[in-house]
Amino acid sequence: MSEIIVRSGGLYTTVQDIGRDGQYAIGMPPSGALDQYSYRVANLLVGNPDGAAALEATYIGPELEFTDDRRIAITGAEAPARINGEPVALWETLTVRAGDVLSFEMITSGARPYVAVSGGVAVPEYLGSRSTYTLTGIGGFQGRALRTDDRLPLGSPPISGPAPGTSVPAGLRLGLGGVAELRLVVGLCSYRLTPAALESFVDTEWKVTKDADRVGYRLRGGTIDFVDREPPFGAGSDPANVVDLGYPIGSVQIPGGNEPIVLLGDAVTGGGYATVGTVISVDRDRIAQARTGDRVSFTPVDVDAAISARRDRGIRLEKVRAAVS
């Protein structure tokens, strides 16, 4: 069977796809590529069907040896890559042959590069998905991040696909750098914040702390006041406490009033801290590319704006599909 030999797993590289649906009620989040846009474009560049499993790296990319002829593509973070030591382009269809080695240099912008391989990473599906959820060791390659000497099985390459050298026009690549502006639907338990606190939450440029992973990002940069109240029965007495409830992916909670946490694909699915809004699905791609020390801000939008942003991303993906086929 054809496979990839992992010479080095990098910092934290996992197998991910579009995610695992239908398990939220028992507390299992969808996981999946945090930056769905870059992940989907990578698959388009190698001619894979939607939903094929690819690799998501964090900060430091893996070193991979191929054992047969494949097409590959690297998207997402600006991660200078080399094949057998020769620099190669990102957001472009590349070819590799048996024995070729893909390696990465330090990321210059963004946090997460994606590597798609024609045929997809063919680890077994678990509950309908190949996504890794490391918190409980589910899915992907043995439920964990890649390590040296792992051997990743590959699927059969598609019969046709974009020719080598096909690249994604600059305007259709992910915008990186600067303050990531995250659109947020205010609500859930936002009644717990004073009007001034909500305003200050939106006016603050928040800094990504080192506690930022696939579960969620902890931010710092301001202090948020809660409305004084007699705590409702069952919530617990802290002002940030509510009776434990479900947490949407993308929802923002502010335990202690000074460290907002934005939940991502490996989210905890419920708990007892007041959530004050939800980052729209499209902008989870942006926060996924923010790294420790980067700045993010929140812009309130309504649910119609969230849906229209989602439609726009769909149109962009169709443009990519047209541009590479």
Partner: protein, 298 residues
């Protein structure tokens, strides 16, 4: 549902971005709110609406995850409002077929003690342990009395979540006897696997090692989550607890803890369980009498 006189306020509908709807049935916890969440989400499940991905009943609320490419969130809210009107009070003869489960707990164990001492900076009271803090703010004379109160009446599973298989459990006693504690000021980044925690009016057993914000009281020797599905109780599902399960926490000593751990390691451990018919009306009318009968079954 007049037995405890809890009238629920009108439900509050909120959008969690474009993919989620959150419905709060009450800001405070009550079994009435939980039964209503179970009734509405059960009815929604039966409708089989295209575009609904996940239906998650919670303690006093529920949450839906949907695919907005197939179903507009505003349309779904209209449907949910109809269900809210139809799911009025519970019929007097309404019963739930469930099971009662014996859940051994080693209180004040060395592993959660080590963890809670490591995270004193995140806590309301850095000077003591979580058990001492909880006993004090709940007006108990000491830790033993708090433990007696936890083990004296069973808990019902009112929500699953946080991580796979984690049961939120609510004690089946009148409100004035409920134990209540705040969550940590800042959540911990580490919690031992199988830790027994308490937050708000809920107890939990953490399925896996990881973050957590509940006060740490002890540890369970038996898992609630078994990915490898080696134990017989997990043959059908990786998570053991189900909503509406009734759990009876039993205090054990270190010898029994070690014995159960050995059974778990050997793959022979089984939870002691009994099938029961749970009648919310009968329970709300006479909680203590109802619980006595329940525990006799076990």
């Amino acid at each position: 549902m007049a037995a405890t006189g809890t009238d629920l306020p009108p439900a509050r509908y909120e959008f969690g971005g474009d993919e989620f709807i959150f419905v709060e049935l009450d800001q405070e916890m009550s079994l009435e709110a939980n039964f209503k969440a179970m009734a509405i989400t059960g009815a929604l499940r039966e409708q089989g609406i295209d575009g609904v991905i996940d239906i998650c009943p919670s303690n006093a609320s529920y949450m839906i995850r949907l695919d907005p490419d197939r179903l507009h969130p505003v349309e779904l809210v209209d449907e949910l409002r109809k269900l809210e009107l139809n799911a009025g009070g519970l019929a007097d003869d309404h019963t739930v077929a469930t099971r009662i489960v014996d859940v051994p707990i080693l209180f004040d164990d060395p592993w959660t003690r080590e963890t809670l001492l490591r995270f004193r900076d995140n806590h309301q009271d850095p000077s003591g342990t979580d058990l001492e803090y909880a006993a004090r703010i709940n007006g108990f004379r000491g830790v033993p009395e708090l433990i007696d109160s936890i083990t004296g009446a069973p808990f019902i599973v009112t929500m699953l979540g946080f991580v796979p298989g984690l049961p939120f459990c609510y004690q089946m006693v009148p409100r004035e006897r409920q134990i209540e504690v705040p969550k940590y000021v800042r959540p911990r980044t580490d919690t031992p696997e199988r830790a027994f925690g308490y937050g708000g009016a809920f107890s939990v057993v953490y399925p896996v090692r990881g973050a957590g914000g509940y006060q740490l009281f002890g540890i369970a020797p038996a898992p609630v989550f078994d990915l490898a599905q080696t134990l017989p109780d997990f043959a059908d599902h990786i998570a053991f607890p189900k909503p509406s399960d009734i759990l009876h926490y039993r205090a054990i000593d270190r010898t029994e803890y070690d014995r159960i751990r050995a059974e778990v390691e050997a793959g022979t451990f089984r939870y002691r369980t009994a099938e029961v018919e749970f009648s919310p009306t009968a329970f709300l009318a006479d909680p203590d009498g109802f619980n006595r009968n329940l525990l006799e079954v076990l």
